[in-house]
């Protein structure tokens, strides 16, 4: 059961801020981020990758996207 960050309906930069907060809190593991615009999808993916996380999957969810992020223990 992975952690979900619901950033649906939030505008920039909130989705990125929420995602980075969660990344800093967990350090590793899996996070699902819900966003509803393509801009947020790109921004969240870019921010997560800059922190060394991998985008493992992006699928449509409702009117937006569910982004799966993962970082293995190092």
């Amino acid at each position: 059961m992975s952690i979900i960050v619901d950033a649906g309906g939030l505008s920039c930069p909130q989705p990125v801020l929420l995602t980075l907060n969660k990344i800093n809190e967990l350090q590793k593991g899996e996070i699902q981020v819900l966003v509803d615009t393509d801009t947020s999808k790109e921004n969240v993916s870019r921010a997560a990758e800059s922190q060394g996380w991998k985008v493992t999957d992006i699928k449509s969810a409702g009117t937006g996207y569910q982004i799966s992020l993962k970082k293995d223990p190092s």
């Binding site: 939030l10 505008s11 930069p13 990125v16 980075l20």
Partner: protein
């Protein structure tokens, strides 16, 4: 191909560079000095064209603005990104739009024009850009402390069409009531016969350039405020690379066209009261940061269905009316009689918004 390319680092650099090339060319073709494109100034001119203010030198239905929204609409539909949405504190966005415009008109330009002024040699632009960065920095402090205006909701497709339809309506008005040489009015539309409002590139060229930029900016998410915000907040330079490309290409084109004139005094449509250039843009930058986008970005968002961005744009147009009706806007002679008071009030209003509107999303 386009879908992927324009969202990349090279994509946004390309879009920034294209804007930097087209803007000085529009100036060469008739637009005012260092104002090939200025979203704030052009929305102000639109407010004048429909008579919301009666400043006779700044009245013209700027086709570039119409093109920005329509270009973004087309891109959003082609790439299936049109998402009708609204409901994130629209009234607050309206107020932010009003004060963003008031701040921009104290400096005399939006961030795009600040960059174009810099590329044209206007040293006052440096002061304005520092003010902009200061305002955006204050905005990031609020963002870090949980500021947000709440979630949007998906809504009717036709809600997302409101801004494109307004712009189409403006275009139709312009075609029904075209400019008449030497006349300051054609039907219901006002047209400046002198001053910046009388300086414009041919309608067809302006609208085509507007559509091209609107298309590219929607794809690449070009945003001047976002460039500074992401740099300060996340140390990311993705958006900033587009902004830098804009300045460099506009500088080169200005050199080629003989439009580069370095200095502080006597710059076109500018004043050199540094404190108020700085403070005006601080207000504007803070308002943009709290609203989530620079004036250009708000137009592109409005084109892809964002009803809240539409409200912000309408706020800016109304703000321009206040700015000229109340003597808040600057002129080449300096700040307006009540410009300083308006900047102080605007910053207080933005601080009130920033301090009181926090975390209700979780």
């Amino acid at each position: 191909m386009t879908k992927k390319f324009l969202a990349t680092r090279w994509g946004i650099i390309t879009v920034g560079a294209v804007i930097g090339i087209l803007a000085p060319l529009l100036q060469k073709l008739g637009n005012p000095g260092n104002m090939g494109i200025c979203v704030a100034c052009f929305e102000r001119d639109i407010a004048g064209a429909i008579g919301l203010h009666r400043a006779a030198v700044v009245q013209y239905m700027r086709p570039e603005i119409i093109g920005f929204v329509l270009g973004s609409l087309v891109a959003a539909y082609i790439f299936k990104e049109f998402r009708p949405r609204s409901g994130s504190a629209p009234i607050v966005r309206f107020i932010l739009g009003i004060f963003a415009m008031i701040g921009a008109l104290v400096f005399l330009g939006c961030p795009w024009r600040a960059l174009l002024r810099l590329a044209g040699g206007d040293g006052n632009a440096i002061i304005g850009l520092l003010g902009l960065a200061c305002g955006v920095w204050i905005g990031t402090l609020f963002l870090k402390n949980g500021y947000n205006l709440g979630r949007t909701h998906t809504t009717h497709t036709s809600t997302g069409w409101i801004m494109p339809l307004i712009m189409l309506g403006f275009l139709v008005l312009m075609l029904i009531f075209p400019q008449i040489d030497g006349e300051n009015k054609s039907g219901i539309l006002f047209y400046s016969t002198k001053g910046p409002g009388a300086m414009h590139a041919p309608l067809f060229i302006s609208i085509v350039v507007g559509i091209v930029i609107g298309f590219g900016a929607q794809r690449s998410r070009f945003c001047t405020m976002g460039a500074l915000r992401d740099l300060i907040l996340f140390r990311q330079i993705h958006l900033l690379s587009g902004v830098i490309a804009l300045v460099i290409s506009a500088f080169v084109v200005n050199l080629i066209l003989g439009q580069f004139n370095p200095g502080f005094a006597g710059q076109p449509v500018a004043h050199n009261m540094s404190i108020w250039n700085f403070a005006g843009m601080t207000l504007a930058g803070l308002a943009f940061a709290l609203a989530g986008g620079c004036p250009g970005r708000q137009l592109f968002l409005a084109g892809e269905g964002d009803g809240d961005a539409t409200i912000f744009v309408l706020g800016m147009i109304i703000g321009a009316a206040f700015a000229h009706n109340f003597g808040l806007a600057s002129s080449p002679k300096g700040v307006g009689p009540h410009g300083i008071a308006a900047v102080v009030i605007g910053i207080l209003v933005c601080l009130f918004i920033g301090f009181t509107m926090r975390n209700k999303t979780t």
